[in-house]
């Protein structure tokens, strides 16, 4: 005869477990509703254009540049680098599903074996290490060209970030990313949300703040300010520097968790990298 108490405990744990797993979807729907109220004219896919969806003057300028975008050289080099065999004869295509073509929408994902979040940049370096080639620096240089090519082949694919239901660790990683997003930091005591949720669409000095929804769609980006290809993580680092907070390094656990959270929020948005940004 089952103890009612035990049944009760089972019920509670199942419900809270169900509730816990429902949290990411609830968060996503909540943030979507929030932005839809501020930007009633925007469709989901529009958020992939970031601030250009809400700043017409900047959009015109951006489109003029996209007519023949400066990332074309990095893209061409990226394709060559991607197809070049390692010294042992293997190629990047051997490391990835679908030979590495049109797969960026599945990153980042929860890696069961490594029990950590795997980003596309991380996977590129895993591939290199597996083939006895040294890892590439994460912030700039060659990795941005490879990412440009892989992003390009993935254009139009809808973001597909999965939190595996059997993995408490994956859910925890999501929650840590979410906490990071909402946590205030630095001298200016801003959180990511302070600007990109609470003040999305408003001006900070002379610029309009973009909504966080869609922040992960358009990377890597040719940055007009540096004249170089930049990655999402390099942008995270720059943001933290601007708000005078300690800088987490590109591809550190904290930033991978943040990317995981942001990417889950952007599920269903189309990828449109590489792109150009100011």
């Amino acid at each position: 005869m089952k103890s009612p108490f035990l049944i009760f405990c089972l019920f509670i744990s199942l419900t809270s477990s169900a509730l816990a797993w429902a949290e990411p979807e609830q968060d996503r729907k909540q943030i979507l509703t929030f932005y839809q109220q501020i930007f009633p004219e925007l469709q989901l896919a529009d958020y992939a254009h970031g601030v250009y969806a809400i700043d017409a003057d900047a959009k015109n300028s951006w489109q003029a540049i996209e007519e023949f975008p400066p990332y074309e050289f990095a893209l061409e080099e990226g394709k060559e680098l991607f197809n070049r065999p390692f010294s042992n004869g293997a190629r990047y295509a051997d490391c990835f599903p679908n030979k590495g073509i049109a797969i960026a929408q599945n990153y980042p994902y929860w890696g069961e074996q490594k029990q950590t979040i795997i980003t596309l940049a991380g996977a590129i370096n895993d591939c290199r290490l597996q083939n006895q080639v040294s890892a590439l620096p994460y912030a700039k240089g060659e990795i941005t060209k490879l990412l440009a090519y892989m992003a390009f082949t993935s254009r139009g694919q809808l973001i597909n970030t999965i939190i595996p239901k059997h993995s408490q660790q994956a859910l925890n990683a999501y929650k840590q990313g979410k906490n990071y997003f909402y946590q205030r930091r630095g001298q200016l005591n801003f959180s990511c949300a302070s600007c990109h949720v609470d003040n999305a669409g408003k001006f900070i000095r002379s610029e309009i703040l973009s909504p966080a929804l869609g922040h992960t769609t358009h990377w890597p980006a040719y940055r007009l300010n540096t004249g170089e290809m930049g990655t999402l993580h390099r942008r995270f680092m720059a943001c933290n520097k601007l708000i005078r907070a300690p800088i987490d390094m590109a591809q550190s656990p904290a930033l991978r968790q943040l990317e995981f959270f942001l990417s889950y929020m952007a599920n269903g948005l189309p990828l449109n990298g590489p792109s150009t940004r100011k």
Binding site: I65, E67, F68, P69, P70, E72, F73, G227
Partner: protein, 103 residues
């Protein structure tokens, strides 16, 4: 790999020719963040745009042109198979040229 990319598109009344060039267009007034030294000026000074061997535009420019310069022109009358070319030379006497066949 060439430093020059050329794209063309034929419309009813004109053919649009666009070019993107890989070049630092360094002004000579920027400092290397790591060493603190001035990065020497390195910028394209002249550019020539030709159609079927005839010069249609000669350009003089300074370092006020953006890094990885872009230019676009409209040829009044061009056909598929016509050749256009872009040639540039910079202040350090480097140069490059590329020919493109209008599709």
């Amino acid at each position: 790999m060439s430093t020059i990319k050329i794209r063309s598109k034929r419309f009813t009344d004109y053919t649009l020719v666009r070019t993107l060039i890989a070049h630092p267009m360094e002004t000579g007034h920027n400092k290397n963040d790591a060493t603190g030294e001035l990065i020497p000026a390195h910028f394209i000074q002249t550019l020539t745009f030709k159609h079927n061997g005839k010069v249609l535009s000669q350009c003089q420019m300074g370092y006020g042109v953006s890094k990885n310069p872009f230019f676009s022109f409209k040829i009044k009358s061009a056909k598929a198979g016509d050749k256009v070319s872009i040639s540039w030379q910079d202040n350090l006497a480097y140069s490059d040229t590329l020919e493109h066949i209008i599709p």
